[in-house]
């Protein structure tokens, strides 16, 4: 299956291991991720905060480029990029004028199916296909599946449950791991405030880490570059401030899929994580 792929800025830089592992596991599942040529930034939280039309235009250009690829479907590993694309897609449906600007042949830009990578894998590929590729079951791992804001708002996302999402839990269980029941699976990490209001992000991430620790998880599993970066790179600062030793590796779900498919930790970018993932890697040996 061919799918237009919108990596987003983080996947090219801070979250390269997410991009790297996503490409590997998708190839294994016969999903051909074709990166959209010349894609632009979705504008993140900043564009829609300043100028709604700017955000719609930035998203619409990416959708128009994806439309020319005739795959019928576009996917992004980043929830922010995904929501931005999906919002632009709805905007294009409503706004005829905007649609006129971006019609450029191929699949009409507002008719492309916009998905997050987790949604594509669980809904289109399916858990059965995924589990049939597992060669190294992740037995012995107790994981906290962390969704953050991925499933909100329900009426735009249209995937999983906004309050009690389960798709990631089911996927991880399909890989042979155990998932914990915990309070913060759909709480926000503070996202883009990490730079300007680090204090707020340290508070929020501290609560998430503490909830995962109390639930007995040995690692947190993320489906978002911002979540992973905040929980992983700010962990030492939070430990120093709260006086609690978390030492919780924060990994991307695609990295764990890769392990279960038999890829080496290095090829999946485990060496790029800040919080040492070796305890969980050793559990699997």
């Amino acid at each position: 299956m061919d799918v237009a792929y919108y990596p987003g800025c983080s996947a090219h830089m801070m979250a390269r291991e997410y991009d790297q592992s996503a490409r590997l596991v998708c190839r294994q599942l016969d999903l051909n991720l074709q990166e959209i040529d010349d894609w632009n930034c979705c504008g993140a939280s900043s564009a829609h905060s300043f100028d709604r039309l700017l955000a719609a235009n930035l998203g619409a250009r990416n959708l128009a480029l994806a439309g020319q690829m005739n795959t019928g479907c576009v996917t992004s590993p980043c929830p922010c990029c995904f929501i931005a694309l999906k919002t632009a897609s709805l905007e294009l449906k409503e706004n005829e004028e905007l649609r006129g600007v971006f019609e450029a042949g191929g699949t009409s830009s507002h008719e492309i199916k916009v998905t997050h990578l987790l949604q594509l894998l669980t809904e289109e590929v399916g858990l059965d296909s995924i589990t049939s590729r597992v060669t190294h079951r992740l037995s012995g791992l107790k994981l906290a599946a962390y969704y953050g804001c991925l499933t909100r708002p329900a009426r735009i996302v249209g995937f999983d449950d906004p309050e009690q999402p389960v798709s990631l839990d089911l996927l991880l269980e399909g890989l042979g791991a155990q998932t914990v029941t915990w309070s913060h699976k759909a709480e926000c990490c503070g996202g883009a405030l990490a730079q300007a209001r680090t204090d707020i992000v340290l508070d929020l991430c501290g609560e998430i880490l503490e909830a995962a620790r109390q639930a007995g998880a040995s690692a947190i599993v993320a489906a978002c570059p911002l979540c992973q970066i905040n929980l992983d790179t700010r962990q030492q600062a939070i430990q120093a401030r709260n006086g609690t030793e978390f030492n919780l590796p924060v990994v991307y779900f695609t990295q764990l899929m890769g392990l279960a498919f038999g890829f080496s930790p290095r090829s999946l970018g485990f060496n790029r994580l800040l919080t040492d993932p070796s305890p969980i890697l050793q559990t699997l040996k």
Binding site: C9, H12, L58, G190
Partner: protein, 186 residues
């Protein structure tokens, strides 16, 4: 703040309701938006109070409070609102309208600066380099050593790099901007 019911100016509210496609009469003040709000404890006025401020036409307060800027757009409020009021869209509207206001209180100017620098990156390159953005932010705010230790670790891990990719059709991306982003306003 004191106000008289008979003297409420509805202009601001009407414009906001039209632009955001919301009907604030549907709000019954249950407070679920605020109960779940990620950053309510950091706000001058919680989301529920913001709706009330719009209803009583307290434009000055709405324009100067920190609420829309501290909001992280996690969109939990709209999912929990029994009336389905699109509060994230209202926050976007308030941000857009209050952008020109100077005094938002402590901590807000930095947030606005961050957004401006990010959009400047989009304007210049079509994509955002997290490294360049973080460095520019720290320079602009005079925090030359903020996260310096973390930065070194990230560099060693190959997570950040001074190099980044650029969009070829930059003119198209730039045409979406009403004007070139200007951070000097902050």
């Amino acid at each position: 703040m004191s106000f008289q019911v008979g003297s409420i100016d509805r202009t601001f509210r009407d414009e906001l309701e039209m632009a955001c496609n919301v009907d604030l009469d549907q709000c019954w003040e249950c407070g679920k938006c605020t109960g779940g709000c990620t950053t309510a404890h950091n706000m001058d006025y919680t989301p529920r109070k913001i709706i009330q401020l719009i209803r009583i036409g307290a434009v000055k307060t709405l324009m100067s409070c920190n609420t829309p800027w501290v909001c992280v757009s996690c969109r939990l409020c709209v999912d929990r609102c029994p009336a389905g009021i699109d509060i994230p869209r209202i926050m976007d509207y308030l941000r857009e309208k209050s952008l020109a206001i100077k005094d938002h209180g402590p901590g807000v100017d930095d947030i606005i600066l961050f957004h401006k620098l990010l959009l400047e990156e989009v304007y210049k390159r079509g994509r955002v380099s997290e490294t360049a953005l973080a460095l520019k932010f720290n320079m602009q705010t005079g925090q030359y050593f903020k996260d310096a230790g973390l930065g070194q670790k990230l560099l060693r891990k190959g997570k950040i790099s001074p190099f980044s990719s650029k969009v070829r059709d930059l003119n198209k991306v730039r045409s979406f901007f009403k004007q070139e982003p200007d951070r000097r306003e902050v």
